[in-house]
């Protein structure tokens, strides 16, 4: 009934062959990608090629988008930047997924070349690639028209998908030009002067509907979960509930004798059950009994460790420390301080809880030396390399078909479950769809690390913050330290910022905005406490005593204006404010809360956020992305915590890992952009969630006179704080 293979049936070769008209390919040289005028030219040059954009004679333009789509809108925004610069008629642009080949479709150079859509990178990393390619294609089309009409190219202009010679009123569409184009051997050079000025933009800055949305309201969007191949069987894996445990033995005969079960397969870290339907596989899961070798890992208890051990690591002068940022002479600033402040904070493990449980599909060829993968992935290139490595294949032996992601939030950039389905399919000798149950997705989750933080500030004789120390303690290395650097908005002259390690054998991963959520919480809550202790209005303190940058000042001023900060809210309500930086963007948020004291429940009524996001390519999609980040932040701060007991994750589904529902969402969310000095886009996917915790904690203080120091602010914790 449903067509499951819409996108996957399009191989790269079909794409080139099938596109009558003009194709623009990309050849890869030592220095990176180089746009070529046709696949044929590229082939002559002996390069690794693929059509990236093609113009058909009917004026349809097809662009392969490298913007992996998890709801943030980049599958649309990335190719739209190309269409803008070539002056394409966006209503005639079709999109398809770019293949998983970072040498062609990636950004960055050398070892950093990647297709990973992580760290709010999509729009900002592809901006210059897309607009350069767009300007080059436009030049080819202009040159073609000039020679066809025998007029100087300088007399021509373009309207969407049309070249025009105004003085003779001649016009040719891009499709007409594509069928006659005499394309040069190499693409024309373009420089800054060739790019459109922002006032000339027809698409950038003007919200276009997202390309993926129609398929997401009628059930036709293809997630990996929806792929069905002929002869496909289903699998689910049970991993050791204790991280790092190894399977020793299991009730193989019993499980394999169950209805519809074909086999059980021992994997390095679990047992996979393969059967003819997912229902039968799930039934067998319930009967599976595995002996695990996990004596070592049994000891870890997350709450005990967070409560007792991390503060000791921080207090231990001989504990190993990694410097995150250093500036001036922090020790001297503290030695000469007029006053010193010090505060401690804690934060729990958090789970991505993306709506689509992890899954992937693998199909080997007859000979078993080539595998095709279907994966909704933030990093198709990483899926490809991880599958290849796991199988002992070269990357040429692996093809990856991109699918929509039912949420990513940092979890879907590894290709770990794709590698797992590849191992299973090799054993099963059939196409396999692997689905982790929700329970498995949590039990074998990869989490935002729990941590302890200590912040110290030294005030000079004028009451200005002259010295700053911030130490984070936990497991996860650099997963702990993002967002610790305040230098983008508070230029405190003397700073020492470090992290100290612990190791617990808990799987960790980037989580939306990575370490910013807990670090920004600690930083901005700390500053608020200092301001109050100094008897200075928290905004005035940030503006006057923190050496704030002009950019920081602007987002604060904007959000103050938006929220009417300074007005007296209703007597049962309070406002709180916070700032954050992330991926080149800067954002300031104000929240308005009330409190149900007997339940310990914080209600967030309104959120205002002012963002400096550089050049805003798609304002409505950008706003939607930030709204999403705000809710993600609220959800994690009010509800979400993972705990580990005896080495095993205690939560198992949405009943004990609570995420925000509609009744808890704020009544109003207002997002606005400030005029930016930045000429290029900066990241927006993760600017929404980091400032929320401290804004809530500050509002909570304004309402109750009490301070919150431990994320999340669960109802029990709030009640404890209120009664303390």
């Amino acid at each position: 009934m449903a067509t499951n293979m819409k996108l996957s049936e399009l191989t790269r070769r079909d794409f080139i062959k099938g596109s009558a008209g003009l194709s623009f390919a990309v050849a890869v040289s030592g220095t990176g990608g180089l746009l070529l005028s046709s696949p044929a030219n590229a082939q002559r040059a002996g390069s690794n090629i693929s059509a990236w954009l093609s113009i058909a004679s009917d004026d349809t333009i097809t662009i392969l988008t490298p913007g992996a789509e998890m709801g943030q809108g980049s599958m649309t925004s990335v190719p739209l930047m190309w269409a803008e610069e070539m002056d394409a008629d966006w209503s005639r642009v079709k999109l398809d997924w770019a293949p998983a080949d970072k040498s062609i479709y990636g950004y960055g150079s050398g070892r950093r070349r990647s297709m990973a859509i992580v760290g709010s990178r999509a729009v900002r990393s592809y901006f210059n690639i897309m607009r350069t390619a767009g300007a080059q294609v436009r030049k080819v089309l202009l040159d073609t028209a000039a020679s066809e009409w025998g007029v100087p190219v300088s007399e021509l202009k373009t309207e969407p998908s049309v070249v025009i010679h105004p003085s003779t009123n001649r016009k040719m569409t891009y499709g007409e030009l594509a069928s006659i184009a005499q394309v040069p051997e190499s693409m024309p050079e373009v420089s800054e002067a060739d790019f459109k000025k922002p006032v000339q933009y027809r698409l950038i800055g003007k919200s276009q509907p997202r390309y993926d949305i129609p398929a997401k309201v009628d059930g036709t969007a293809q997630f990996a979960m929806d792929v069905k191949l002929p002869g496909m069987v289903y699998a689910s894996t049970v991993h050791s509930p204790v991280q790092g445990g190894l399977p020793l033995d299991w009730n193989k005969t019993e499980v394999e004798g169950m209805k519809g079960i074909k086999q059980t397969i021992k994997l390095p870290d679990g047992i996979a059950i393969v059967g003819d339907s997912f229902y039968n596989v799930m039934s067998a899961r319930k009967k599976l009994n595995v002996d695990w070798d996990n004596a070592q890992a049994r000891r870890f208890n997350s709450e005990e460790t967070l409560d007792n051990d991390y503060a000791m690591v921080h207090a231990d002068p001989s504990a190993a420390s990694t410097t995150v940022f250093e500036k001036g002479d922090a020790d001297a600033a503290f030695a000469n301080a007029n006053k010193v402040y010090r505060e401690e904070f804690k934060s729990d493990y958090a789970y991505h809880a993306q709506m689509e449980p992890l899954n992937a599909i693998a199909r080997f060829n007859e000979a078993g030396d080539h595998v095709e993968i279907w994966d909704g992935t933030q990093s198709p290139d990483r899926t490809r390399s991880n599958v290849a490595e796991t199988l002992g294949f070269s990357e040429d032996q692996v093809a990856v078909n991109q699918c929509y992601m039912g949420g990513g939030f940092g979890r879907r950039s590894l290709g770990d479950y794709a590698a797992e389905v590849a191992l299973i399919a090799r054993e099963a000798k059939k196409p396999v769809k692997l689905i982790w149950t929700r329970e498995e997705d949590i039990a074998h989750g990869m989490f935002r690390p729990q941590n302890f933080q200590c912040l110290e500030a030294a005030l000079d004789d004028n009451g200005n913050v002259a010295g700053w120390r911030h130490c984070v303690v936990g497991d996860g290395g650099s997963l702990l330290s993002g967002g610790m650097s305040i230098d983008l908005y508070y230029k405190v002259p003397n700073q020492f910022i470090d992290r100290r390690g612990a190791s617990h054998n808990v799987r960790l991963k980037h989580w939306r905005a990575v370490a910013h959520p807990f670090n920004i919480f600690a930083i901005e809550e700390f500053i608020d406490r200092m301001a109050v202790a100094e008897g200075i209005d928290p905004i005035a303190f940030r503006m006057n005593n923190m050496n704030i940058t002009p950019r920081g000042r602007r987002v604060f001023e904007k959000v103050i204006d938006m929220s009417g900060w300074g007005r007296a809210p209703a007597s049962d309500r309070a406002l709180g404010i916070s700032i954050t930086e992330r991926s080149g963007s800067l954002g300031a948020a104000v929240v308005e809360i009330s409190l149900n004291e007997s339940l310990g429940k914080i209600n967030v009524h309104k959120v205002w956020m002012a963002v400096d996001g550089g050049l805003i390519v798609q304002p409505d999609a950008a706003r939607a992305n930030i709204e999403s980040g705000i809710i993600y932040g609220l959800s994690s701060i009010l509800h979400e915590r993972v705990t580990v007991k005896e080495g095993a994750v205690e939560q198992s589904n949405y009943h004990d890992y609570q995420v925000m529902r509609m009744s808890d969402a704020p009544e109003e969310i207002h997002v606005e952009f400030v005029d930016s000095d930045e000429k290029e886009p900066t990241g927006l996917g993760e600017i929404g969630n980091p400032p929320i915790a401290s804004a809530i904690a500050n509002a909570f203080f304004n309402l109750t006179g009490k301070r919150l120091s431990h994320m999340p602010f669960t109802q029990d914790r709030v009640k404890n704080v209120l009664s303390a």
Binding site: F223, S663, E668
Partner: protein, 150 residues
Amino acid sequence: MVQFTLNGNPVSLDVDEETPLLWAIRDHVDLNGTKYGCGAGLCGACTVHINGRAMRSCSIKVGDVVNTSITTIEGLSPDASHPLQKAWVAEQVPQCGYCQSGQIMKAAELLAENPNPSRDEIIRHMDGNICRCGTYNRILAAIERAAMEG
């Protein structure tokens, strides 16, 4: 053989009657718009209409829907023209989109019985459906728009 009506068409499936309706629809009929989110009646991603009531297909055995009439997102309208679907596009509601079939089916039940719901009625009705991407404010706006534009 289990027989019921699906999106107006008679269906008869040779499946174990214990199979959750969700997997019968997805894996045996190959209609994939109805999603698996939790498998435990907690998230609403699997919401379908059974005789006009929004139900969680992950928690209903296919054997229990014999002779009922079931509607999935694919059957809500032939061409995405249901007022909710149009409003969902107009408000640019979906982020990842994975929860949205369930959201729309749940909202369709509301508008069928209450064409002009208040904000509180919308929230109460929709509160069981999780959207991890946090599109709640846009869902609300879209339901209000659909109610208005009908």
